[in-house]
Amino acid sequence: MSLPLAPKPPLRRFHQARWDEPLIFELSAEGERGVLVSRPEPDVVATTGGLDQVVPAGLARTSPLELPEMAQMRVLRHFVRLSQENLGADFNIDIGQGTCTMKYSPKVNDQLINTPLLRDLHPAQDPDSTQGVLQIIWELERMLAEISGMSRVSMQTSGGSGAIWANVAMIRAFHEANGEDAQRREVVTTIFSHPSNAAAAKTAGYDVITLYPDADGYPDLDALKAAIGPQTAALLITNPEDTGIYNPRIRAFVDAVHSVGALACYDQANANGILGITRARDAGFDLCHFNLHKTFSTPHGCGGPGGGASAVSEKLVPFLPYPVIERVDDAEARDGVRFVLDSDRPQSIGKIGPHHGTVPVLVRAYAWIRALGAEGLRDVAEIAVLNNNYVLSKVLAIPGASAPYAAGKRRIEQVRYSWQELYEQTGVDTFQIGIRMADFGMHYWSSHHPFVVPQPFTLEPTEAYSQAELDEYCDTLAAVAQEAREDPELVAGAPYNTPIHHAGHDDLDDPARWAITYRGYRRKYGL
């Protein structure tokens, strides 16, 4: 006898846990402990004296430490409950956070970084006792140099913006060394390049000239030529940009920038669609950077700490952050080579991050590249591009959705779509659609600001998702769009199945109210 099977629902039935969990400080119970420490033995105290005899008076606290007092089990429950209120990368079809390359990060890589051999290392240990990890970082540098075509790579920064900053600092140091820093005060970028490019350049004191796209999705070469001159320090550009459109004139862009004595810097934070297919140096770029936490295994953003890799051509090697890891011949060393830290680099921009960077991220990237090999890297790019164009065809079939710019052309690894037509017809906007997607257990993101594409959403399928998963995401999008037409209030009132209904973020949008630092908060509110 077989039991009748219920028909599969057209959309996933999902409901997230909701715990109404207080802050951990509100859970504190006086005297409760996770680990009970025994009192010191009288003989020990008699020998050493009290703590006040051991700890200098100037280092002793004057008030008790304000930590929550909780038993281990309650701590565990607290954090597991919070974890259940997340929409994490490990359990949703996470293609909705385009530009972030939310791909599968093999769990074996997590096991590698949790081995005591690595976990228990201290970054300040004598290099002679950390030869293994130095070798991994050195070999990873060689791999990234090969992938980019550049000469050397620094992995000292903890993220993409840090790596962009390192590149901008090296650009500035290069022009200073040539006596042209006072003259070259402008950096050129594009509106679709990641905003950290403009931000890093401004932080370094440059004026930023932003180019806007033509109908084909990338700026006109004449616009670039009008922007550059002897005042130009560099071009900071992404390709493909967030639209997923590849600029086929990129070599002409680089040549134009070089013709005025400026440097060309390639933002390859997201290199997932071009791995093994194009190389920054082959297109003439002088510098580039990778986000090791996007393209190379480690989850992006809140999924874990990041890692930035700044890659440079030969003429910029003297300006790399120090120390750099060098491999030297040493007959007495194991395998006849030794890895040393070279800090004697007078033209270096200095230390730009602690120690060797975020080592767990570097080890994941190393393991990921080694596991795939050169052909595997290219497979990643090709599958990511195919998946993206499959999703493109599915999304364009949804009434009300569009992909502005370069009509009819294929995209590389992601697409910035628009709901403008649907919005004009229904009044339902991209944020509301995104929140409704969460009701089906799927993450969704709109766009960086400013919104060049109206009512934007950005999908990046990567190589990690199956056709069935891509279909499920697109079918859910189509269903939500249909809901917007038939019952806009239903979509506008979402979410219904998630732990938090609506987070008020007006304060975060109002410069008169937010403060991004405690110092700023005190200044703003006169504290």
């Binding site: 509106i191 401004k202 004191g205 000239i209 932003t210 004009e424 009044g427 339902v428 906007d429 109002d510």
Partner: protein
Amino acid sequence: MTLSGGAIGLVINPIAGIGGAAGLKGSDGAEVQELARSRGGAEHAVERTVRALRRLPEGTVVLTAAGAMGADACAAVAGLRVEVCYQPGSPSTADDTASAVAALARQGVALILFAGGDGTARDVLRGLPQPPPVELAETDPPPVELVGTHAAASGLDRLDQRTAVTIGTTGGLDELDRRALASPILGIPCGVKMYSGVFAVSPAAAGAIAAAVVQGGEVTIEDRDVVDISEQQIRAGIVEATLFGTAPTPVVRGRTQSRKAPTGASEADAVRGVAAGLATRLLPGHTYFLGPGGTMAALASELGVVKTPLGVDVIRDRHLLLADASATELLGFTHESPCHAVVTSIGGQGFLLGRGNQQFSAAVLQALADPPLLVGATTGKLLGLDGPLLIDTGDDDLDAALAGHQRVTTGVQDIALVRAVPASAERKDRP
């Protein structure tokens, strides 16, 4: 300032948009309306308004005018509590729109929804209450003359006095106070021309914003331009945009026409950023002619001087040398020191020169030092343009000389490169 809760006011221009389908570029004037009907044009403002009203929650109080100016549309939507507070004439006129708005404003509605186009927006502006006289402290800067001869010559003397007073007396009236004087307005797009920034992008979006107000959601308001274009000239192939004033408008991300930065608050901050960026580019000893517009007012504020709302003011080394200068007076300054014009684009069409700032005559522009123009605009404003920036000085050769890739200051250390073209080259592509 944010809105929260209350009744909705509603005014419909029943014949708005009738000329659109008839290919008449607008619907202003009885003659044009008759011609539109003869060509098959039909009223659709009531039907579009119904689409907006359907987004309001049940039980919403709607104050409106009788018949086709509001009550008819309300009757087609179940669940509204409708109160008629104005009786228009028959047939209703533009003055009825202004009078109905005045009546609604007196009732203290939280939001005035109006259905129409730019012409209707002007009538709505006319009907909004004017602020009480501003009393300036002795230490405050002297009030500037409100509407000068140049404004009269360019048709700007029709500017609503409320706006002129409020912009021109920065020392006397707090920005939030003056915003509180008028009910916010929001347009349900029904007209042929809708270049003003006071329209929602669609009837459904207008209804969604109004619903957010009724339900007590926080909705930011900001002053948006009310501009209009002479329909007769459009029919003749000439685009003449005129700024008639500004009106407080609720702004919900993506729901108010204009693809600007995410919220009104951040947009206002962006304008301040543009002003701060422009201020860093002013050279000691050089003379700057500040054109009209809110961005230039922000620059003046950044420099610590009072700006004539719609005139051109002359500034050197952070001192106001002359307010509301004429072309002849501007020309006089060009003999004293290097001079530059500081301008922003007007409305959504991107005019840098030739609209609302005709004081920058060809003779003045030719006498300017290099670079002749300093341009400032928010990124949102640039993204809202339908095409390139436009130049129309009346001198084709000068237009061509000023055309090209224009540097536009969008913030501190921030410049956008945007193409500027002679307006004559663009007219053929415009409505």
